[in-house]
C-alpha cells in the first residue's frame, strides 16, 4: 500500500513536470480517482493546448515503449495464440482514445510477423477499411496468414455486426488465395477481445470477394442498449 502511494506520488510529479499540469490539481483528482484517467481522458484536467499536446505525446511514447518491450523480449514476434496477439495489439492500440485505427499483422507460415500495417485511421464512426489495399500488402509480402485488429474508442470490447461482417468479407477475399484470417482483435477500455478465442472467426468463404470499402465504428447493439438504460436511470 505504502509502495503504491510512492509510485503514485512519483507518477504525479513526473506527469506534472512533463506536461505542465498543476500538481495540486492532479493530486486532488487522484484522491478519489484512478491516476491513469488523466492520461486516458485528459480533458478532465481542463488542459490548455500545450498541455494537451504534451499528454498526447506522452501517450504515444508509452505505446511505443510497450511495443519495444515486446520486440526486445523475443527474437521473433510470433503471434501463435490469441493471448499473444491480443497483448500485441493492446500495446499498439490501447493508447488511442480519440480515433479509430484498423491494423493488420501479416504473418509467415510460422505465424511470425512479416509486417504490421495501419490500414486505416479516422475519427470515431468515420473510418473506412479498403480490402483492396489489404490485398495489395498481403500479396506484396507473400504472407501465409493475417490477424486483423482495431480499437473501439468508446471502450466497448463487444463485436458489432459490422465487425463480424468485415471479418467474413476478409475471409471471402483471402480464403480462395489460401491466406488464413486467424483472428480479429478488438481493443477497448484497456483490454481486448479475440474472435478466435470466442470461436467465431469464419473459416470458409460465404460469398464472392467484395472489394467495396467497409465502414467501421458502428456501436454494438448491447452498448446502445446500455446507454439507453443509463439515460433512464438518471
Amino acid at each position: 500500500m505504502k509502495q503504491d502511494m510512492q509510485y503514485t506520488e512519483k507518477f504525479l510529479k513526473g506527469l506534472t513536470n512533463l506536461t505542465g499540469l498543476p500538481y495540486k490539481k492532479v493530486q486532488q483528482y487522484v484522491k478519489t480517482n484512478n491516476p491513469f484517467n488523466i492520461l486516458e481522458h485528459p480533458h478532465i484536467m481542463e488542459p490548455n493546448e500545450k498541455q494537451l499536446e504534451k499528454i498526447g505525446l506522452l501517450n504515444e511514447f508509452i505505446a511505443s515503449y510497450n511495443i519495444l518491450k515486446i520486440y526486445e523480449s523475443n527474437e521473433k514476434v510470433t503471434l501463435n495464440s490469441s493471448t499473444i496477439a491480443g497483448q500485441y495489439f493492446l500495446a499498439l492500440l490501447g493508447g488511442i482514445k480519440d480515433k479509430e485505427r484498423f491494423m493488420v499483422a501479416f504473418l509467415d507460415s510460422g505465424n511470425n510477423i512479416i509486417e504490421t500495417k495501419t490500414m486505416s485511421e479516422g475519427s470515431i464512426g468515420q473510418t473506412a477499411v479498403y480490402p483492396r489495399e489489404i490485398l495489395k500488402y498481403a500479396l506484396a509480402c507473400d504472407c501465409n496468414a493475417m490477424i486483423l485488429a482495431h480499437n473501439h474508442p468508446g471502450g466497448s470490447k463487444n463485436f458489432s455486426p459490422e465487425d463480424r461482417s468485415l471479418t467474413q468479407r476478409m475471409v471471402d477475399i483471402f480464403h480462395p488465395l489460401e491466406i488464413k484470417v486467424l483472428d480479429h482483435i478488438i481493443v477497448g477500455g484497456g483490454s481486448y477481445t479475440s474472435m478466435a478465442e470466442r470461436g467465431i472467426v469464419p473459416c470458409q468463404s460465404k460469398g464472392t470477394a467484395n472489394y467495396e470499402e467497409i465502414a467501421l465504428g458502428a456501436i454494438p447493439v448491447e452498448e446502445k442498449r446500455n446507454r439507453f438504460k443509463n439515460t433512464h436511470s438518471r
Partner: protein, 78 residues
Amino acid sequence: MNLEKLREMEYIKCVGLLAELIDLDVDTKEKIHMCFQSMGIKTFFLHLESVDLPLETCEKLKSIKSIIEMFDEEGRHA
C-alpha cells in the same frame, strides 16, 4: 520485414517522440538513439542514472521513467 528492422523503426519513432516531448537537441537525440540500439529501451531506463546525458535531460527522463514504472507496476498487478 524482420524483427531487427521493425525494432529499429520503432526506436526511430520512439526517440522522435521523446525529442518532441522533452525538447531534445540533435546530439542528445542521437545519443539516446544509440543507447536504445546498444542496450535496449528497458535497460536504458533501468540504468538511466549511468547514462552520460545532460543533467536537464536526465531529470526529464526520470519523470518519464516514473510514469512507465507505474504502468509496469500496474501490469504486474493486473
